[in-house]
């Protein structure tokens, strides 16, 4: 039992010496007392080492072809990974970083980003359409308004002369402005005269009616 324990110690030492580069025959000379046991171990090591199979080169070629066909590593992912430190230095929100991220982002984010972009474009198109519609409504109403205005001017054609003159075109010339004011005053005076004449006619008519009424009343009194 004690010998077995000692052998374990010697075996560990042997492995250590082998690691240091000593040959097995040198080690056997160092421990003559355990020569037989160590020789057995050496034989075992040799038997194990003989199991070194050398795989067929064709196997490797087949593996390489299969893997290359699968093409797992995407260049984008690699570039993104390799640039990660540089990106961090520049700041995550830097425009270059954002552009890089856009190009080298992972597949699922590419889908999300493209869907987002499409939604944004659709929203912009809808907005533009809506604004165009409201503009058309305004555009249509302008000629309508103009036609209404024309109709109005035509219906009041009789008295428009003075009204038209009211809206004399502003030419920027002071003489035109003065003549426009004079015309305006003249038309106002003529309108006033017209009003006065109408009032006098109405008054004379009223006084005639009143005289008639008084005469009727007077004749009635006489009857009594």
């Amino acid at each position: 039992m004690k010998k077995e324990k000692n052998f374990e110690r010697i075996l560990i030492k042997t492995l250590e010496l082998l690691d240091e580069g000593k040959t097995f025959s040198q080690i056997l000379n160092d421990f003559p007392k355990y020569r037989k046991e160590l020789e057995e171990i050496y034989k075992i090591v040799e038997l194990i080492s003989s199991q070194k199979i050398t795989p067929d080169k064709k196997t490797l070629e087949n593996i390489i072809t299969t893997i290359n066909d699968k093409d797992i590593v995407t260049k984008e992912q690699s570039v993104r990974y390799l640039n990660r430190r540089e990106n961090f230095k520049k700041g995550r929100l830097s425009s270059t970083n954002n552009i890089n991220n856009l190009f080298f982002m992972k597949r699922n984010w590419k889908i999300i980003a493209s869907i987002g972009a499409l939604t944004l474009i659709a929203a912009v198109i809808v907005f533009v359409q809506i604004t165009k519609k409201s503009d058309n409504v305004n555009i249509v109403s302008v000629p309508e308004k103009e036609s209404i205005a024309n109709n109005e001017t035509q219906s009041t054609a009789g008295k428009t002369q003075s009204e038209k003159e009211k809206f004399a075109v502003a030419t920027g010339n002071i003489d035109d402005a003065a003549s426009a004011i004079i015309n305006d005053a003249v038309s106002e005076i003529s309108q006033l005269e017209k009003d006065i004449n109408e009032d006098t006619a109405l008054l004379s008519l009223e006084s005639e009616e009143l005289n008639g009424l008084l005469q009727d009343q007077y004749s009635n009194e006489n009857d009594f």
Partner: protein, 185 residues
Amino acid sequence: MKENTENLKFLIESVKKGDKNAFNILYKTYFTPLFRYIYLRINSKTETEDLVQEVFLRVLKNINKFEDRNKSPLNYFFTIARNLIIDYWKKKKEISINNEEILKAIHNNFNPHQIIQEKEINEIIKKSIKNLPTDQQEVIILKFINDMTNKEIANLMDRSEEAVRQLQCRALKKLRQTLKELKIL
């Protein structure tokens, strides 16, 4: 297996940039050690080929996650291989046969008077390695089949060099006992 870690790290960086040639060099560097490692753990050539391919695929898929952090690319490849082997056995749901049963089976077919063929010895060795506990199997394969240093193995298994040596010692003692019983030694 002495690897030039710096060159391999450079290769991995090139792979990250999409350089297929760099990945082909990585395949060539790790193909044989990975093949041997997996083959001795599952003992089936065709399934080993599939698993090696799966290791490369997983490395390629996750190459961007590989960080420098003083870890060698070898660790990366072997960690994936180890996980795949664990998954493989989980799928197989193999009920591990204990030592005695294996020895009995070997004894029944073994005639000491018969000249043991080299093929048979190889088969016994493979079975004996397979019968070791997982960490001992791993240490033996990495050390004596893949010629890795104890430092590399310790790094890979996330253990101290001393612990790795202990595991080697226990594995060799068990193998010695088995082979002695079979009168191979």
